[in-house]
């Protein structure tokens, strides 16, 4: 079932992780204690130009040697360390979370419009599919994902997320269905700039996976949400669709609605459905996607999962439950339920 919550401060003011931790714990009824996680944007200002690679290692010998080698081949490691953690009584440590600040050597990816991203994406796929005992779970600039198997509070305290300040936060309280609660299966899922939290189950996963894999992405986390991050990267970054049209591709209007649109709109929506039919997501879902520029929340076309949005000053909140939002901010200017398939978008002011 899962609970999700996210917040953006449009003025880029930093928020520490303490209040989102409280909000997420309020939705413990939606989780099972087998996975929780947080993504924060703007947490590594001193390394803003470097890709922050967060990796779960099973040990620091074979997998790490292999990862170090491949990173050095493809670029420069500015810094690396074990992600600071504090042992929690009810959180079983099964991996060692590690982080690198990495700059790819773009001369190694000639002919690409986005060589940095292409190298990092390739490395993520390569490490996750070929190096046993290493899983990259966060790979964006100035972005950090912090996740593990456990209840939201334990995971937050394990990573001490109150010490991080971000202008966007995404958080997820997991009730796993597809896979048992292993650390890699916890949300948020991240690739480059994209982070995703998701409530629901994507019944079109097989179609989406086979579509995205034909573009060189590899699904390795045994769960449906991963594919959303990759679809965002393909449609949003590589194909350049604006967020609203990307969401339109994921949760398009019904044909009978398209048939009633004015000509120009009809043509556009038909083109989206024809071109991106394999990216359409079916089944019940509520999703929030974040990039450095903002957050987008949306649900499936027939609204089988809850999603509430709210505003307070510069801050936009999106969550499974209003109560969770009010745990972060009791005084809200506006609370509303977004329509099925229609995105709620919060962008930072430039």
């Amino acid at each position: 079932m899962c609970g999700i919550i996210s917040v953006i401060d449009r003025s880029r003011s930093g928020m520490d992780g303490s209040s989102i931790k409280k909000a997420l714990s309020l939705m413990d009824e939606r989780g099972s204690g087998e996975g929780a996680g947080y993504a924060a944007y703007g947490v590594y200002p001193d390394y803003a130009e470097y890709y922050a690679l967060h990796i779960f290692y099973d040990n620091l010998v074979e997998p790490k040697v292999a990862v170090d080698e491949i990173l050095r081949k493809w670029g420069h490691i500015e810094d690396q360390e074990e992600i600071p953690t504090v042992e929690q009584p009810d959180l079983r440590r099964t991996h060692i979370p590690w982080r690198y600040f990495f700059k790819p050597d773009i001369s190694l990816m000639p002919g690409s419009r986005t060589p940095d991203e292409d190298i990092v994406m390739k490395l993520v796929m390569q490490i996750n599919t070929t190096i046993p005992g290493a899983i990259v779970f966060s790979s964006g600039k100035n972005i950090g994902v912090f996740k593990a198997s456990g209840w939201p509070e334990a995971v937050a305290d394990f990573y001490q997320i109150e010490k991080y300040e971000g202008y966007i936060w995404l958080a997820h309280n997991r009730y796993p269905t597809n896979t048992s609660g292993w650390w890699g299966g916890a949300h948020p899922f991240n690739l480059l700039d994209w982070s995703v939290v998701h409530n629901g189950e994507i019944t079109s996963y097989g179609t989406n996976r086979r579509y995205i894999e034909s573009y060189g992405y590899r699904c390795t986390m045994y769960t449906d949400t991963e594919v959303v991050a990759y679809l965002c990267d393909l449609l949003g970054r590589k194909h350049g669709l604006p967020e609203d049209l990307m969401v339109r591709a994921f949760a398009p209007p019904f044909w009978d609605e398209i048939d009633q649109m004015p000509d120009e709109q009809q043509r556009l929506n038909q083109a989206i459905r024809l071109t991106y039919g394999s990216a359409l997501m079916n089944g019940p879902f509520a999703i929030v996607v974040a990039t450095a520029e903002g957050i987008v929340g949306f649900t499936d076309r027939i609204k089988l999962r809850p999603l509430i949005a709210a505003e307070s000053g510069d801050r936009l909140y999106i969550s499974s439950e209003e109560a969770a939002i009010r745990r972060m901010e009791p005084a809200l200017d506006r609370v509303w339920m977004p329509k099925a398939g229609e995105p709620v978008i919060g962008r930072v002011r430039i």
Binding site: L26, M27, E29, F254, D256, E257, Q260, I302, K303, P306, I308, E321, E322, A323, A324, R326, R327, V335, M337, K339, A340
Partner: protein, 247 residues
Amino acid sequence: MRKEIVIDADGLHYTPLNKKIRSAVQDGVSQIRIDNVLGQRFIADGLKGEVTITVNGIPGGDLGMFMSGPTVEVFGNCDHAPGNTMDAGEIIIHGSSGDATAHSMRGGMVMVRDDIGYRGGIHMKEYGEHRPVLVVGGNARAFLGEYMAGGLVIILGLQEKRVLPDRGIGSGIHGGEIFIRGDVPERLLGVGAKKAEATEEDKARIIPFIRQYAERFSVDPSRLIEDGYTRITPASGRPFANKYTWE
């Protein structure tokens, strides 16, 4: 004898909260006020008796589920399915409510000041003396009264700009009736639903509820009573009848 108690729900899990409510009802308390409610589910779940509960805050889902008798008045928005499978009593919401409001409700009344989410009144049913009523001051989202098997749904549409429920109104409806203020285009009706302008006789059935709404939320009832309503009912009591053939 009128006894009243106050419960502070701040940080309280729903099980101890409901335990307090139940023991108070057993002690003959007739008025319960719960303050600082935030996200607690199942408030008054399966509760019987004659008691009025005031909820201050934002309750979690399934408020008043299986409830049989009490009145719950919420000052705040409700989450999913308030009045779920409720038998008798009243839920009054000073705010809005989430998806599947009044799901499978068999009796009593749910009255929402503002909007409700998707699938409002889904599979509401009636039996014998039980006849559930859902009154919504604002608007409803898609699939209103889906699968409805009985009872009464009233959508007053009181928002500043008139918005209609989305597609699939009364989809699969095979009992009961839905009233929506104003006209409703045919394309919004679901499979198996038909519409007609409400007659004076029809309206007579909903006017008492309109008056209750107006009184409760201090709105002038005269316009709501004068206006025309669309009545949506089943085209047939057996929407699946034409789907199957014997092997």
